[in-house]
Amino acid sequence: MSASSDRGETPLVEMRNLHKFYERVHALNDVNFKIYPGEAVGLIGENGAGKSTLIKILAGVIRNDKGEIFWKGERVEIPSVDVSRRLGIETVFQEATLIDIFNVGQNIFLGREPTKRLGPIRHVDYRRMNETSAVLLKELRLRVTPDREVRFCSGGERQGIAVSRAMHFKANLVILDEPTRGLSIMGVEQIWKFARKLKEEKIACIFITHQFHDVYPVADRFVMLARGIKVLDKEKKDLSIQDLEAEMLRAYEKAEQLASKSGQR
C-alpha cells in the first residue's frame, strides 16, 4: 500500500506482516500497521474485516500467529492485557470497560486505586480518587459527579469516563472500539471533543468503526481492512470524504478478488 505515513520518526507502534488464523479463516493476512505518537487513526471496515482481531492483538486479548510488533522501535510480545496496559495502551471496549454498579470515581481508578499510609497500613485514598476524578471529568466537560453510578451515565459519558482513565494514567495509545455506536449526534460530538483532548495531550488514538463519517472530522489517517487484508492506508489530507467512499468500494472488490485467488471462502 502507499507508504503514506513515513514521517522520519519512530512509530509508537508498528506491526509487521501480521497473520492470524481462526480455524480455516484467515482473519489477518500479512497486515502492516503503524501509528505515530499523537496521531489519530480511523480503522475502518465491515464486520469481519479483521479490525477487531487487529486491536485485540494490541490489547493482549489474543495473540498473532505470525508477524512482529514493535513498541517505540523495540520488538515486544503482548501476551496479556496486563502487559498491554503496562506499555501504555488503554483499550476501551464497548461493553466490558466499566462496571455498572460502581461509581464513576471507582471506575476511573479500577484496579489501580491510590493508597495512603496510616501507620503500617495502606488504605485506599478515597479523597484523592474523588478529587482527581472531578478534575478529569471537568477537563472533558462531562457533567457527571465522581459519586454517580456508571449505570446512570449516557453512552457518551461512559466513553468519557474511559478516556479520562487513559488521560490520568498517561496512556500513550487509546483504542476506542466503535465509540459512536448507539450514540446520538450530541454523543458523537462529545467523542470528537475527547479526540481533540487526547490530541492535545499527545496521546495517539485508534478509532475502530464502520461509520467512517463519524470519525472523519477527527482522524488524521484512515486504514481500511477487508477480508483480513489492508486495502487502504491514506492521510486524510489526500482523501476527501467522497474519495473515501469510492476507495472503499474499490477496495472491497480488490479484497474479493484477492480472497478468491488465495482460495478463501
Binding site: V81, D82, R85, F93, A96, T97, L98, I99, D100, I101, F102, Q106, L110, G111, R112, E113, T115, R122, H123, V124, R143, V144, T145, R148, E149, F152
Partner: protein
C-alpha cells in the same frame, strides 16, 4: 434542601434492616411488655445471634465476590468437632493455643473451597455443595458421640460470657467492615463480584481474589464454630445445624445482592439482628418449632421482596440525582 432529603432517604434504605429490627422489637415489646425492655433481654438477644452473625459475615463475603458458599454451616460443625476431638486428646494444650485451633482449621477448610473455585474455576454452587457433604459426613466420622466429652479450657469457652462475646464480635465486625471498604483487596473483591470480566481485564486476578475470599469465609466460619462452642459450652455435632439458610437470609435482608458486588458486612449483621429479634419474639409467643421453620421460609422470601423494593426505590432516587 432536596439533596438533604434525598441523602436521608438513601441512609434509611441502606440501613433498612436496622430500622426493621427496631420496629419488630418495639412491636413485640409493646404487646408483651415489661421483660422485653430489660437490658438482660437485649443482651441475651444479641448474644444468641453472635455465632450466626459470624456465619452471616462468612456468607456475605462469598456473596459479595459473586460466589455462594453452601458449606458454611456444615463446616462450622466440622471445625467445632474436630477441634474438640483434638483438644480432648491433648489436654495439655493451653487455652490461648486452643482458641487458635478452630480458626486454623476453618481457614484450611476455606482454602479447600477457594482452591477449587479460584485457581481451578469450578462452579461455586457445586463445589460448596460437595464440601457441605464432605464436612457433614466427616463430622460424624470423627466423633462417635453427639458431644465431645472433654473439659474444654476456660479461655476456649470465652464466648459464653455475653459481654465478652458481644465486644469481641463487634471488633471482628469492625475489622471486616474496614477491610472491605478501605483496602484494595476489599475493593477488588467487590469488583470481582460486580463485574468479573471487566475486573479481570483491568488486571484484577480473579482466581487469587476468589481463593482469598473463601479463605476469609473459612476463617469466619472457624470463629463461628468457636463462638457456638462457647455459647452452648460444649462441642456438639448439631451446633450449627440448619443455620445455612438463616445465614443467607440475614445477608439478603441486610442488603447483600445475590449477584455480587453489592452490600456491606455491617448491614448484613443488621439482618442477623433482625432475625434474632423475630426469633426471640416467636419464642416469647410460644410458637411451635414447626411453625418457626415455616416462618423462616416466609422470612427468606420476605427478604427477597424487601431487597427488590429497596433496590427499586434506590434506583429511582439515584437516577434523578441532583447533579
Amino acid at each position: 434542601m432536596k439533596k438533604r432529603a434525598q441523602s436521608f432517604q438513601l441512609f434509611f434504605l441502606e440501613n433498612l434492616a436496622w430500622f426493621l429490627a427496631l420496629f419488630f422489637y418495639i412491636s413485640f415489646a409493646a404487646v408483651k411488655g415489661g421483660a422485653m425492655f430489660s437490658l438482660e433481654f437485649i443482651l441475651f438477644m444479641i448474644h444468641s445471634v453472635v455465632p450466626l452473625g459470624l456465619l452471616v459475615m462468612a456468607e456475605t463475603i462469598a456473596l459479595l465476590s459473586g460466589n455462594l458458599d453452601l458449606s458454611i454451616a456444615a463446616m462450622a460443625g466440622f471445625v467445632a468437632i474436630s477441634s474438640g476431638v483434638i483438644l480432648a486428646a491433648n489436654r495439655a494444650i493451653p487455652g490461648y493455643v486452643a482458641v487458635l485451633l478452630p480458626i486454623a482449621i476453618g481457614i484450611l477448610c476455606g482454602c479447600l473451597n477457594g482452591f477449587l473455585i479460584g485457581p481451578l474455576k469450578f462452579n461455586p454452587f457445586l463445589v460448596t455443595l460437595g464440601t457441605l457433604m464432605i464436612f457433614d459426613g466427616g463430622t460424624f466420622m470423627i466423633s462417635k458421640s453427639d458431644v465431645v466429652a472433654t473439659v474444654l479450657p476456660d479461655l476456649y469457652l470465652f464466648a459464653g460470657d455475653p459481654y465478652v462475646a458481644i465486644v469481641t464480635f463487634l471488633a471482628i465486625l469492625a475489622f471486616f467492615a474496614v477491610l472491605m471498604k478501605y483496602t484494595r483487596f476489599g475493593l477488588h473483591l467487590y469488583y470481582a463480584g460486580g463485574g468479573p470480566v471487566t475486573a479481570s481485564m483491568m488486571g484484577i486476578n480473579l482466581g487469587r481474589t476468589y481463593f482469598a475470599t473463601f479463605a476469609l469465609s473459612g476463617l469466619l466460619t472457624g470463629l463461628a464454630a468457636l463462638y457456638y462452642t462457647g455459647y452452648i459450652h460444649t462441642a456438639a455435632i448439631t451446633l450449627a445445624d440448619g443455620s445455612l439458610f438463616p445465614a443467607l437470609a440475614g445477608a439478603v435482608i441486610g442488603g447483600v445482592s445475590l449477584s455480587g458486588g453489592r452490600g456491606a458486612v455491617q448491614n448484613a449483621f443488621a439482618g442477623t439482628v433482625l432475625l434474632g429479634v423475630i426469633e426471640a419474639g416467636l419464642s416469647m409467643f410460644a410458637i411451635s418449632s414447626e411453625a418457626r421453620i415455616v416462618s423462616y421460609g416466609v422470612m427468606v422470601i420476605g427478604a427477597i421482596v424487601v431487597n427488590r423494593v429497596r433496590d427499586d426505590v434506590r434506583d429511582r432516587l439515584l437516577r434523578y440525582a441532583p447533579r
